[in-house]
């Protein structure tokens, strides 16, 4: 019950943002989407203002939009409760290499367990960067909300979209950075 009370202001905020934010969906597009049925239109009509900006600008934001956009994306990033950005690399391994979880290997080379795709940059030997605070923070933030660094890119905003919890993202960071991780001790599988 308390949860619901907490949600109300969030929903109102969302509505307010939706009304003042940019809109991609005109009356005709709305009608078309609704013709696809309830389940489909529920998702497509719930487009967030940042998704609308990427749609309007065909994924390439103009300079005047870019600064405020990146700033807004940075504001969304949340960190694990214990403040540790590197968790357990073994748990990160399972997330990185599982289709229904991180599914990272579908786009990135680097995993010793799966042949990587080439849609994203290669992450082979990612751990060479070391484990400084800056490297951990960058890696964590890119996974949590990639649009704070690469606006409108195809990679999922794992933390922002609720696909991975902050602690799970920290596990993936460890998988990439921990010198003891299989990711850094075993050779990457390549096509």
């Amino acid at each position: 019950m308390r949860r619901i009370y907490l949600l109300i202001p969030l929903v109102l905020l969302g509505l307010a943002l939706g009304q003042t934010g940019p809109s991609y969906i005109d009356a005709e597009l709305q009608r078309l989407i609704q013709a696809g049925g309830q389940n489909y239109s529920n998702i497509l009509l719930k487009q967030a203002p940042d998704q609308a900006l990427c749609s309007i600008h065909r994924n390439k934001l103009p300079a005047e939009v870019l600064g405020p956009f990146i700033e807004a994306q940075r504001q969304t990033i949340k960190y694990p409760a214990d403040g540790k950005l590197m968790g357990d690399w073994r748990q990160g391994d399972a997330i990185f290499n599982t289709l229904a979880r991180g599914n990272c290997f579908s786009c990135h080379v680097g995993s010793p367990r799966n042949i990587g795709g080439n849609v994203g940059p290669s992450l082979e030997k990612y751990g060479q960067r070391g484990t400084s605070e800056a490297v951990q923070k960058y890696t964590y933030e890119v996974i949590y909300n990639v649009w704070a660094y690469f606006p409108c890119t195809v990679m999922y905003r794992f933390g922002h979209g609720g696909l991975l919890k902050p602690e799970e993202i920290a596990h993936v960071v460890a998988y990439l950075l921990d010198p003891a991780s299989d990711f850094n001790t075993k050779p990457a599988l390549k096509r």
């Binding site: 696809g36 998702i43 609308a52 749609s55 786009c107 042949i115 795709g117 080439n118 890119t153």
Partner: protein
């Protein structure tokens, strides 16, 4: 009819068995692998699964069925009643009788309703798929020729393009972010193509890894599912909009259909 269905069942089971037995752990070129699987079907069964679906569709097409006890031979796919040769190459298009832009699958449903007297809720998806395979087989390897001309077709094309760029869902996806930005690349093993590169020119197709016939609507639904968005209901306008956009772009790229039904991964 029953005999054919048994055959289809047997051959599809055989196909699944073959694809499991022959799946190799190392990397293979998906096009070459499809070609190899296709040859194996030819050698062991003498016929391709897609051809069996088309044969099933032909029976459904010519049989007198529905409350009006009629066949589909009077169905006009845009070239005149019963004219199937090349019919798919110019679909989707606007039809004056239904006053809608329709793709092949939607047109089959309209004809089943209008000519045969089926109620929309009585129409079985599997029958529409077989009929789609049959009608499409008459456009095998022909040049795609979808050029939106009427105001309705142009409006549908424009909406399809908007939908193509519409980012949504908790994975922020749209079609363009993969199919335009990474055309020529690979997601896991799958090559990614843009509409201009002829994406959509192999459907309906038998997918040997899934061991099923996929129409273009099935394939679009599969895309939506794999990006975590509930697909539109079959025969609804989002499919028609996306199809006319993709096929009109494929036309600009001067692409042909592959063998239809296609045979693919």
């Amino acid at each position: 009819m029953r005999n054919r269905s048994l055959w289809i069942g047997f051959l599809l089971a055989l196909g699944l068995g073959l694809s499991i037995a022959l799946t190799q752990p190392q990397e293979v070129d998906p096009y070459k692998e499809a070609e190899r699987q296709r040859e194996l079907f030819r050698q062991t069964a003498g016929i391709l699964p897609g051809e069996l679906y088309a044969a099933q569709g032909e029976e459904l097409f010519t049989q007198k069925r529905g409350s009006k006890n009629a066949s589909l031979e009077a169905c006009d796919f845009g070239l005149g009643p019963g004219k199937l040769e090349g019919a798919l190459t110019q679909l989707p298009r606007y039809f004056a009788d239904t006053r809608r832009v329709e793709d092949l699958e939607t047109r089959i449903v309209s004809c089943m309703v209008r000519l045969q007297g089926f109620k929309p809720e009585e129409i079985k998806r599997d029958e529409v798929k077989a009929l789609t395979a049959y009608v499409a087989s008459k456009s095998s390897e022909m040049p795609i020729n979808v050029v939106p001309k009427t105001s309705q077709e142009i409006a549908m094309y424009n909406l399809g393009r908007e939908l193509w760029y519409h980012r949504a869902g908790n994975r922020d996806m749209n079609c363009a972010i993969c199919h335009d930005a990474y055309a020529g690349g690979k997601v896991r093993l799958s090559p990614v193509r843009s509409p201009r590169q002829g994406l959509s020119n192999e459907w309906p197709a038998y997918r040997f890894e899934a061991d099923k016939l996929y129409t273009l609507q099935d394939r679009i639904a599969f895309c939506y599912e794999s990006i975590g968005i509930a697909p539109p209901e079959f025969y609804s306008e989002p499919y028609i909009a996306l199809s006319i956009y993709m096929l009109a772009e494929a036309t600009k790229g001067k692409h042909k259909f592959t063998e239809l039904p296609g045979f693919t991964r």
